[in-house]
């Protein structure tokens, strides 16, 4: 019988303690962010989709070696290149020039293998996270075009 | 040490008449690795092997005949092991399917035991161990899904992870999607 009453009392006390905690939280400042009106600043290392890095002259750093393409687990990078002859210090050299760099973001798993495998510092992560669309085509990024748009 | 006990118990499965398993049982992992590499096309001989835990992650590796499986597993059960997982491996070159049973212990007497059994790819039938470990049920169903190995006597051998009407076995090496 004493167990009966002590359970009622301790149980009632636990309920009061719980309610006092939620009441305290009621008056605390809010912790959420009103998303479309306020936005989060992405961490420096945030891994978004990739972007090409340009050199001083505005051309992509990429030498079209295709390491990223091979490293990608999902096969979402496809790039093409052509070789051109350029003159460096009086000598003609053959050089590969990037002609297209397509990222199929629909299958990308944002693992970062491509950036890691790149030896020429040619790709980086974008900080973009507001990616939403109802069309698949919107996620086939032409990174070369994006680079030009960024420069213009 | 439990390793010795369970090894003793498993070695008993292989009567000395066969003669061949006895030396195998005494081999160390290094020998085994050296021996196994050249003789790759040859399936491994049944027997118990003590493995280098630091190199492989388990202590005992016993390959048994499908007929001996229930006996071996009940010895494991009697020694108080818990079932970790069951899986299969498709050895296409040797035209065999291997079923791998992993067992481990809850206490601090660390011992991981692997029991394997090999069957022909065409007639892949292995007795079920659900009678001994009820938790083998899903694992066996999964292995059946992926490899098409029939566990004879299994109470409910229908696809678990694959769709109900799946008639393909994706982890077979000759499976083409």
């Amino acid at each position: 019988m004493s167990g009966y009453f002590s359970e009622i009392i301790s149980g009632g006390k636990s309920l009061v303690v719980g309610m006092s905690i939620t009441l305290k939280e009621f008056f605390k400042p809010k912790v959420t962010l009103q998303y479309p009106h306020q936005t989060v600043k992405m961490a420096e290392r945030f891994r978004g989709h990739i972007e090409l890095i340009e050199n001083e002259s505005g051309e992509p750093n990429c030498v079209a070696c295709g390491m990223c393409q091979r490293a990608c687990p999902s096969g979402c990078i496809s790039l093409t290149s052509k070789s051109v002859e350029i003159e460096v210090e009086g000598k003609t050299k053959k050089k590969k020039v990037l002609t297209s760099y397509d990222l199929n973001f629909t299958t990308c798993s944002l693992c970062g293998s491509c950036v890691e495998s790149c030896n020429f510092d040619a790709i980086c992560y974008s900080k973009e996270y507001n990616l939403a669309s109802t069309r698949k085509e919107d996620f086939h990024f032409d990174l070369l075009k994006r680079l030009k748009e960024r420069n213009s | 040490m439990i390793i010795q006990t369970i090894k003793q118990s498993l070695v008993e499965l292989f009567p000395p008449v066969e003669a061949a398993p006895a030396p195998v049982a005494e081999e160390t992992a290094e020998d085994e690795g050296a021996k196994k590499a050249p003789a790759k096309a040859e399936p491994r001989v049944n027997g118990v092997i003590t493995c280098d835990y630091n190199a492989t992650g388990y202590h005992l590796d016993a390959q048994v005949d499908p007929d001996q499986l229930l006996d071996a597993v009940s010895r494991i059960d009697a020694a108080g092991f818990f079932i970790e997982s069951i899986t299969g491996v498709d050895w296409l070159k040797e035209n065999q399917l291997e079923v791998v049973y992993d067992f481990a212990r809850y206490d601090f007497d660390l011992c991981r035991v692997v029991i394997r059994t090999r069957v022909d790819r065409a007639i892949s039938e292995v007795p079920t161990i659900t009678g001994i470990y009820s938790g083998a049920n899903w694992h066996e169903r999964e292995t059946h899904d992926f490899f098409g190995i029939k566990f004879t006597g299994h109470p409910h051998l229908v696809p678990l992870l694959l769709p109900e009407d799946a008639d393909f076995h994706p982890l077979l090496k000759d499976f083409k999607a």
């Binding site: 687990p73 | 079932i83 809850y106 601090f108 938790g135």
Partner: protein, 372 residues
């Protein structure tokens, strides 16, 4: 606790819990034969998000498979990463610098807390209390921010690499983690007052969902489910991998075998993880995070390798069968919830549906991990 009643098989009806049901936390289906509100028998149906990760492992190189691990158990992705890299390092004999191991332990333990926080919130939500979920998510947010700053992602991390980690931690990480420990301790106290000691919760969980130690053994249950049944089994202690034998921490074990014990085990594990984090922060040496010599392409020698780690939900095992090639010949993932959930069918017989769903919540399900 309900008294055992005589259930009749001739008056049952089938209740489909799931694949879309608020209590299954994903697409899990449990076909229950019910006698009124009592469960006569149950059959769990899996595979709604089966993705055949094991086949993917055969088709990709070892390095390419790394991101897959985070997709298994999205709540404690770090432990899965850890298990995989340890297995491959064991197979290919890659040395890991000490600092990298410390960073791994730190991130895994932080991730374990965040995983338990999600479980805590979701479990209380299964029981009908919504507010603790929000508090838990607020605290989890702090962990995610810390981990995001280091790893670059918030959920499906792909941070551990063969031989080390992706990038080094900075002072912000150290400071942030140091500041997080007291915050988490305070939060744990709040949870204790708000939830653990709550009479309604105790009444709902004590004595519900008994799982005996023998049953755990037969089904291969690990993690908190086993530890709540009096089994002192934690891979970090029983089979110390990485640096876990250098830290001083306890493994909470309860003998009650009920849902409340499972609840308590997880709540105490958070505190233990905090202890590990504290020690790791204090001991962490300077140094490289990647070995100097590391093969460019990983090709483990032919053989069979097994590695188990303690993920948030139990022992996660990974078996790599190598034929010496660039890809694994066979890659088996042994996921803890798969075994833990398996005993649900047997254990839930004769329970009320409300209790059975509380029991299911106490197992802590992550469906993608079960279905793989």
């Amino acid at each position: 606790m309900s008294d055992p009643i005589q259930l009749r098989s001739d008056e049952t009806f089938t209740l489909n819990v799931g694949p879309q049901h608020p209590a299954t936390h994903g697409v899990l289906r449990v076909k229950m034969e019910m006698d009124g509100e009592y469960i006569f028998s149950a059959e769990t149906v899996l595979g709604y998000i089966h993705r055949m990760h094991e086949k993917m492992g055969e088709n990709r190189t070892y390095a390419q498979y790394l991101p897959n691990l985070g997709r298994l158990d999205y709540l404690s992705a770090m432990a899965y990463n850890h298990g995989y890299v340890l297995a491959v390092e064991k197979a290919a004999s890659i040395e890991v610098p000490e600092r990298a191991e410390y960073i791994r332990v730190l991130t895994v333990e932080l991730n374990r807390i965040s995983s338990h926080l999600v479980w805590f919130g979701a479990f209380i939500m299964d029981l009908g209390g919504f507010t603790p979920l929000m508090y838990a998510f607020d605290d989890r947010e702090a962990i995610l921010d810390i981990l995001e700053a280091v790893t670059g992602s918030r959920l499906t991390y792909c941070y551990h690499r063969f031989g080390g980690v992706y990038n080094d931690v900075d002072d912000d990480f150290i400071e942030g983690t140091k500041a997080f420990i007291p915050r988490m301790r305070k939060a744990l106290k709040t949870y204790e007052d708000l939830v653990t000691k709550n009479i309604i919760l105790m009444k709902r969980l004590k004595g519900i969902g008994p799982v005996s130690a023998e049953m755990c053994r037969k089904y291969g249950a690990t993690g908190p489910v086993a530890r709540a049944s009096g089994i002192n089994f934690d891979v970090r202690k029983n089979e110390p991998y990485s640096l876990y034998n250098e830290f001083d921490f306890d493994v909470p074990v309860y003998n009650e075998c009920d849902s409340y014990a499972r609840y308590m085990v997880r709540m105490e594990e958070m505190e233990q993880s905090l202890r590990i984090i504290e020690q790791a922060l204090a001991k962490m040496p300077e140094g490289p995070i990647m070995p100097k010599k590391k093969p460019k392409i990983i090709k483990p020698p032919a053989g069979d390798y097994y590695q188990a780690v303690e993920a948030a939900r139990g022992s996660f095992g990974i078996r790599i069968v190598s034929d010496g090639g660039k890809n694994a010949y066979r890659l088996k993932l042994r996921s803890p919830t798969y075994s833990n959930m398996h005993l649900f069918d047997e254990a839930c017989r004769g329970m009320l549906i409300a209790d059975a769903l509380a029991f299911m919540g106490s197992i802590d399900l992550v469906i993608p991990e079960m279905d793989r």
